[in-house]
Every structure is written in C-alpha cells, then in structure tokens.
C-alpha cells in the first residue's frame, strides 16, 4: 500500500519538476510584464572580468601638505620635528625644495590592497572606476559620491580644504543615515588603505594631485555655550534660523507674519508657495552620467539628516558647510579665523534643528499639526 503511495507521488513529482523547470519563470515571463524598467543597463552593468586590481606604476600618490606649521600646533603628537624632515606619526612627509611643499609617499602595494578592498566593499555603489555610478547606484537619489571630483560633503572639513585621512575614515565608520552609505565594520587600517586609493583617483592637477591644495583639518568646534540652557538655545536658534534666511533653501518653520516680524521687514511681504518646503538646489556641482543632479535641501521635521545625530555633529555640519551642495562654510576654520556667523549663533541654530528633529521627525500627528499651524491653511 505504501508502495502505491510512493509510485503515484514519484510520477506526480517528475511531472511537477519538469513543468516547474520549463514554467515561464513563474508568471514573471519577460515579455508581458517587462521586468523592472530599471534604468537602461548603465555603463557598469556588469563587472568587467578584467577588473584592474593591482596598481603597479611606481609613482605613488603625492599628498601635498602646505601649511605644515599650523597643523603641527593643532596636533602636537602627530608631527615631531626631527631636524629638517617632519615625520607624520603614521607615515613620512618629505620636504620638496622647489615646490616648497611637504608630500607623503604612498607605496604601490598599499594602493593595491586599497584597490582590492575598494572593489570588494565600495564598487557596488561607487562604481568600479570610482565615478559614483555603480550597479546599485542606478536611480539612487542622492547619488553616491564620485571620487573623480575629490569634493566630499560630510567630512566636517571646510569646503575649500581637502579632507585629511582621519576625517574620511571617520566618515566611513560613521556612515550617512538615511542613505545606503553604511557604518562599515571595516577596520581602521583597511579603511586607511581604501582612503589612500580613493585619494589616488582624483584626476591629474586636481584634488590630491594638485600641489597647491591644502589638506584641512576638522572645523574648529568650540564647546557648547548653551550647555544646560537648551530651551533658551532653541528660542535663540529659531530667531537666528529665520533672520539668517536659512529658509531660502530649507523650509521656514514660523508663520509668514512672525517671519516678517522676526526679519524686521514690513508685514505685507509675501513669499512663494514653496516657503515651507525644502527647495530644490539645482546649482549643486555634482553630476551623474553628465546630468547635474538637483538635491532638495532637507526638511528637518521630515527627512533623516545624514550626519547629525546630536547637537555637536549638527554644529559641525553647519559650520563646515557641505561642499558642492550649496551649503557655504558658516563657521571659522581656525580659532583665530573669523566665521561669517558667530559660533554661539551656530550652536543655537544647531540646538533648534535638533529640537525640530526630536519633536517632529517620525511623529506624523504632531508634525501635521505643527506644519498646519505654520502654513495657516489646511
């Protein structure tokens, strides 16, 4: 009796197995439902076999460092003076006579390891050529960074300087929230090698290959003057946010009347309809496949902020500005320098932004009520 059961089962199975194999891909047949009209197969649609892996040419990466004295003061342990040659704690800066710059030699095998780790971890989004157009980046907004442009948005180093290695490594280990850029669990040593490779991608006479560029430091971050007086900071921040016209890119968070009174202009001035929405910044200098991608400025009550998990990070993002995305450097690059907005105000704005995020982000009901009040219409 069990034999009868077994034989019938086997016959049914053979039929099912062959039918299954030949079945047209379980109703996902290619023809009538075109599989996702995902963007046309991009240039890196398939990993080429000949993935250029090993870097053989001996001319290593030349990282030019100009203002060596200032940086020595900031990080005493990093540089120790041994007669004429400054020795960086991690490598060796040598003095170049006629260009009067210090440069750092990065050996070819280190770049090779960096290239291999880059292909393993980063190439799926940043592309095998590092041009920001990887397989997983098709249709992704905001698009992944292209390392051929050597501008970086969130390294906390002011835009007109080149980010130093530690800033880049910290950025990768921090990850950008709300984007596929993960907080990578890759060790610092491997990340340093990947970063050296990324620096070697900048085109000739640009970025790290341009001797005149200066490798900057993290933006100067004074202590929080408002520590303990957060609500005062939020009130001051709200005022400063609207006076300094942050709402020209970001949404405004006060009704029009209050905005006018805060700005001290006559009460009748009107604004366009997009006042309470993040404006689309089309002048960002960042392209994908030759098309300049317009990036909407984030609405703090709605979007996930990429690099501001607390007030200090928010302060640094505002102070250092976002290179290539229309957010200027508001803070000051060094203790003596003069920022376009005093630090205390930037701290207040930072607290105000954190307040907006903490009270409204992800809380649909509270946010709807708040925005309805601001827009004074349904």
């Amino acid at each position: 009796m069990t034999r009868l059961l077994l034989n019938s089962g086997a016959a049914l199975a053979l039929l099912a197995a062959v039918a299954g194999l030949l079945a047209p891909g379980d109703e996902a047949a290619q023809d009538e439902h075109a599989a996702p009209a995902s963007p046309a197969a991009g240039p890196h649609a398939r990993a080429p076999h000949a993935v250029p892996l090993t870097i053989t040419q001996p001319d290593q990466l030349l990282a030019w460092v100009k203002d060596i004295e200032r940086r020595a003061a900031d990080e005493p342990d990093r540089f120790s003076q041994q007669d004429e040659v400054w020795v960086d704690a991690r490598g060796e800066f040598t003095w170049d006579e006629e260009n009067e710059v210090y440069w750092q030699a990065v050996p070819a095998d280190l770049l090779t390891r960096g290239r291999q780790d880059f292909v393993q971890f980063c190439a799926s989004c940043h592309g095998l050529q590092g041009d920001g157009y990887g397989r997983s980046a098709q249709g992704l907004r905001p698009p992944p960074r292209s390392f051929l442009r050597s501008t970086f948005k969130f390294t906390k180093v002011p835009g007109d300087f080149l980010p130093n290695d530690d800033a880049l490594v910290a950025l990768v280990q921090h990850g950008l929230d709300g984007t596929p850029m993960l907080p990578w669990a890759v060790s610092k040593e491997r990340l340093r090698e990947i970063v050296q490779y990324i620096k070697s991608l900048s085109p000739p006479e640009e970025g790290w290959h341009d001797g005149t560029n200066v490798i900057g430091n993290e933006i100067y971050t004074p202590d929080d003057p408002w520590a303990g007086r957060e609500d005062e900071a939020v009130a001051e921040g709200e005022k400063a946010y609207h006076v300094n016209q942050c709402w020209s890119c970001h949404p405004a968070y006060v009704p029009v009347a209050e905005l006018n009174s805060l700005r001290g202009v006559d009460a009748a001035t009107t604004y366009d309809a997009k006042l309470t929405y993040g404006k689309l910044k089309t002048d960002s200098s960042y392209e994908v496949q030759g098309y300049a991608v317009a990036i909407p400025a984030p609405d703090f009550t709605w979007h996930t902020l990429r690099y501001s998990r607390d007030a200090r990070e928010t302060f640094q993002t505002i102070a250092a500005g976002i290179a290539g995305a229309g957010m200027p450097t508001w803070g000051r690059t060094s203790p003596e320098g003069k920022g376009s907005v005093p630090d205390e105000t930037i701290w207040a704005i930072a607290h105000y932004v954190r307040h907006l995020v903490d009270t409204y982000h992800g809380k649909t009901a509270e946010r709807a009520a708040f925005m309805a009040g601001v827009r004074a219409e349904p």
Partner: protein
C-alpha cells in the same frame, strides 16, 4: 601506471562484462551531466522572447553539418575495426587508424567553426546566444579531445602488442559513440531547430 604495476586481470569474459558494466555507469553519469547542460540550454532558450535573438551572427551551418558527417563516418570505422578484432581477423589496426583520422578531421572542423565565429566577432560575452553556442560546443569539444587521447592510446597498444585488449578497445569505441550521440543531439537542438 605501468602495466606491470597492477598486472591487468586476464582477459576473461567475466572481466569483459565487468568493464562493460563500469562503462555503462560512466556513460550514465556523463549523460546526466550533458542532460543538465542541454536542459539549461532549452530553459534559457525558452525564456528568451525571441530565438535566435534578432541581429545575431549565426555560426556557419555548413561546417557543423560537415563535422556531423565526418563524426558519423569515424564511428562506423571504429565499429568495423571492433568487428575485425572480435573475429580475430587482421584488419583491425587499419580501420582503427581510419577512425582516428576521421576524428582528427572532425576536430579540425570544430576548430575552424570556433575560429570563424570568434573572428566574426561573436565572443562568449557578446550575448546569450553566443554564450550557449560556446558552452555546448566547448563541453563537447573537451570530450572529443579525451576521445582522441583514448583512440591514440588504443592505436598505440595495437601497434605495440599486435592487437589491443578487446575490453579496452570496446570501451573506447563505446565512449566515442557516446560523444557522437552527444554531437547529434547538440547539432539538432542548436543548429537545426
């Protein structure tokens, strides 16, 4: 492994049946492998909206047809040689050499087919049609190469020892007929249909 090492068992009918049995299982296993590849070819082909894909360079049918004929001829020659060996008559080496020669001609035709297609710009990665073409013909080509080595081995044994052991010769001939059958299925499945 020199012959003395395992001093091959006496050529009894029992041993001949053992070798035939082992050969049958070997052919069964290899046909499973080929069946998988051929079934995958059919499934991928079934998935394509249009077959052969528009604008694809078809490999030359003439060369393939010529190859089929030559291959069949070589099998016939080997079969005749075996009949002579079984009957104990002389003509084994000559016919076996003819079969070997025809096999070499087939190998030549295959390489001509490949180089022609390659030079015409159809590489394995230029599309699913070319990929399948190269996959099927290369897999079969590998077996043709092994078959050639086996044929040479038996021819060598025949030259040295007058006549090879019947069990070895018959199993090599069976393998060659198997390779022949593979090519027929492939030729019909890929080129004609």
């Amino acid at each position: 492994m020199s012959a003395t090492a395992t001093c091959p068992p006496a050529e009894t009918t029992r041993h001949r049946v053992d070798v035939a049995f082992g050969m049958a299982i070997f052919i069964g296993a290899w046909s499973m492998a080929f069946l998988t590849l051929f079934l995958s070819f059919l499934i991928i082909r079934h998935r394509q909206p249009q077959w052969p894909p528009p604008g694809v360079m078809l490999p030359s049918l003439g060369l393939a047809a010529a190859g089929t004929a030559v291959l069949l001829a070589s099998s016939v020659a080997l079969h005749a040689a075996l009949r002579r060996l079984r009957a104990g008559a002389r003509g084994f080496s000559a016919r076996w050499a003819a079969g070997l020669l025809l096999a070499l001609v087939f190998a030549g035709l295959q390489t001509a087919l490949w180089t022609g297609t390659w030079r015409a710009g159809a590489y394995p990665d230029s599309g699913i049609y070319e990929g399948l073409f190269y996959m099927l013909t290369w897999f079969h080509g590998a077996h043709v190469a092994c078959g050639l080595v086996a044929l040479l081995w038996v021819a060598g044994a025949a030259a040295r020892a007058g006549a090879p052991r019947l069990s070895t010769a018959s199993s090599v001939a069976v393998f060659w007929h198997f390779v022949d059958a593979l090519w027929l299925v492939l030729f019909v499945g890929f080129f004609l249909v």
